[in-house]
């Protein structure tokens, strides 16, 4: 038996989330008394694979034969083959675009129960019960998994990274694959920009900013902090900001260490996307705005006055 952690790579590199996944998988593997293995598909530098050892995989399985771009069916088949070969009883994915697309497919292949967006280790192993937030973060559900094989996807920035070195032997794993039925025709992306979903600090603004022309001070504040920028839904719906910045129930669900909400009223759908943040700061001119119920720290005031001052104070901090 084993725990298998699937690790995406980004242009051949791993990210903090990869180490978080391994730390999580390792803790569960230790509790179960089984080894943890990592699986990486696609081309990754040897030096990158080396960095994984610190987080406890006994073996790191690799295969870059044809895994150049994501085809869900092909990848799910490969991951399932690896899970079967290595007798994995538990497979761990990251709860993100790629993990979401693959976990359900692998679950069907392995006849495994799947619990998505977990943020802690199981409550018990026998029976296997794990907690997850449901109704968009309003309550927790304890989910019992009845199948022998199980699949989990871990929400980002929820599990502590633990150094726990293991052999980390890199091994080429033979995996069959058929011709993919989807094909990437073109890619359009910016590199080097801090991504909202990776960011530990987020500066977010809402309709209280009045219009897109006033976002300069939001960007400056973000720059000072080294934070990513986000917005409430109306701001992206109106085209003031790109859709990728929209957080909340129908946008991105994030869990940064710090979330600063400026001119955002704090509608329940907005809170659903940010309530896992470790620290929430609200700046709003309305003392009765519901955002203050979700916040840890608050200032009642005019954003146009408070933000430049806050920016100066942070520069000197």
């Amino acid at each position: 038996m084993s725990v298998l952690v699937y690790l995406e790579n980004w242009d051949g590199k791993f990210k903090k989330v990869s180490f978080e996944l391994l730390s999580y998988g390792k803790k569960i593997a230790e509790d179960m008394g089984v080894p943890m293995f990592a699986l990486s598909l696609g081309k990754v530098d040897a030096s990158e694979l080396e960095t994984l050892k610190t987080y406890g995989p006994e073996k790191i399985f690799v295969n870059d034969n044809g895994f150049d771009s994501l085809d869900n069916e092909m990848y799910a088949s490969a991951i399932s083959q690896a899970a079967e070969k290595e007798d994995a009883t538990l497979v761990v994915f990251s709860q993100d675009n790629v993990g979401n697309a693959l976990a359900g497919r692998v679950a069907v292949r392995l006849k495994a129960g799947l619990v998505s967006a977990v943020s802690a280790i199981p409550i018990s192993y026998d029976p296997f019960i794990i907690k997850k937030k449901v109704y968009t973060n309003k309550v927790f559900g304890h989910v019992k998994v009845n199948t022998a094989k199980k699949i989990l996807s871990l929400s980002k920035n929820t599990f502590e990274i633990i150094e726990n070195a293991a052999a980390g032997v890199v091994e080429e794993l033979a995996l069959d694959h058929a011709e993919p039925k989807t094909k990437v025709e073109s890619t359009d992306k910016v590199t080097g920009k801090l991504l909202l979903t990776d960011a530990e600090l987020v500066v977010s603004a809402g309709r209280g900013m009045k219009g897109p022309e006033n976002w300069g001070m939001i960007e400056e504040l973000a720059e000072t902090l080294g934070a990513a920028t986000a917005c409430s839904r109306p701001c992206s719906d109106e085209g003031w900001r790109p859709h990728t910045e929209h957080v909340g129930q129908t946008g991105k669900i994030i869990a940064p260490n710090l979330y600063i909400a400026i001119g955002i009223s704090g509608a329940i759908q907005h809170i659903g996307g940010i309530s896992n943040s470790k620290c929430i700061v609200a700046i709003n001119k309305d003392p009765d705005a519901p955002i203050f119920e979700a916040a840890d720290y608050g200032i009642v005031g005019d954003a146009f006055k408070v933000i430049p001052e806050l920016n100066e104070a942070l520069k000197n901090a």
């Binding site: 085809d71 869900n72 799910a76 675009n97 979401n100 697309a101 359900g104 497919r105 679950a107 069907v108 292949r109 006849k111 495994a112 129960g113 799947l114 998505s116 019960i129 997850k132 937030k133 449901v134 109704y135 309550v139 927790f140 559900g141 304890h142 989910v143 009845n146 039925k181 989807t182 094909k183 990437v184 025709e185 890619t187 359009d188 910016v190 590199t191 920009k193 979903t197 990776d198 600090l201 902090l225 719906d237 129930q249 260490n257 329940i268 759908q269 470790k278 620290c279 609200a282 203050f292 119920e293 979700a294 840890d296 720290y297 200032i299 009642v300 408070v306 806050l310 104070a313 901090a317």
Partner: protein, 246 residues
């Protein structure tokens, strides 16, 4: 081209959810079309109206008879017909298995599911459905277009997007961006929806893979600490020394 949209019936997003045991208390709850599914129907309608070659838009729901109000709303938006599998959707695998039966009984080129359902946030029906059917799938879909009669699907990736060509039938799990404002049914649509075909199918038996055995309420949050608008430094100090986040 025929499009099928999988629709989940969920409590209105402002609902303060209450439970008795693991059962949601439904008294006073307003039910809606799951927000992403609503956007999927909207996009399907836009494609049909643009003359890009969409023949028919079908809705499929797994749910008890009470979900027919939500299904009728989808029909009122403009979908052509609907299927309801008569069962309480207990988990994602159960739901996906039932939807697969509906799809096998028909002929669809594009199947759209919302990226998640706003109740159990399982994020998995689309993936499971495609695997059961042996169809290709695309997740994190932010646009669906038909170019020269062929589907072209945008997938969100970190920092941007990829444009994919796909073999059909295909399952697309859609998210924000696929459409902006959900279509609001007009009076005429609501009248017509009453006469549109809604077929009820029995559920097939499925092994119970996962089940919710307990609901736990989150701990009450500690009260917010307020700073005067003149005391910006006080906030900065708290972030630095108390919360340790900067």
């Amino acid at each position: 081209m025929n499009i099928l949209v999988c629709v989940s019936n969920v409590p209105d997003t402002t609902t303060k959810v209450k439970f008795s045991g693991t059962q949601l208390e439904t008294e006073g709850v307003q039910w809606i079309v799951n927000p992403w599914d609503e956007l999927a129907i909207t996009r399907a309608l836009e494609l049909k109206e643009s003359g890009a070659g969409v023949d028919k838009i079908t809705i499929a729901t797994v749910g008890l008879v009470g979900t027919e109000t939500t299904i009728r709303k989808g029909l009122a938006m403009g979908a052509d017909d609907a299927f309801r599998v008569d069962a309480d959707p207990t988990d994602a695998f159960f739901t996906a298995t039932q939807l697969a039966e509906v799809i096998k009984a028909g002929s669809y080129d594009l199947i759209m599911t919302g990226f998640e359902s706003a109740d159990y946030n399982g994020i998995s029906v689309g993936g499971m459905l495609s695997e059961i059917l042996g169809y290709p799938s695309v997740g994190a879909v932010s646009a669906v277009n038909i170019v020269d009669g062929k589907l072209q699907i945008d997938r969100e990736i970190d920092g941007g997007k990829e444009v994919l060509s796909v073999q059909t039938p295909v399952v697309a799990s859609v998210q924000k961006g696929i459409a902006i404002d959900p279509r609001i049914p007009a009076m005429r649509g609501i009248m017509m929806a009453r006469r549109k075909p809604l077929t009820v199918m029995p559920a097939v038996e499925v092994e119970v893979y996962t089940e919710v055995v307990e609901i736990e309420l989150p701990e009450a949050k500690s009260a917010v600490k307020m700073f005067d608008a003149e005391d910006i430094q006080g906030l900065v100090n708290a972030l630095k020394n108390e919360a340790n986040v900067i």
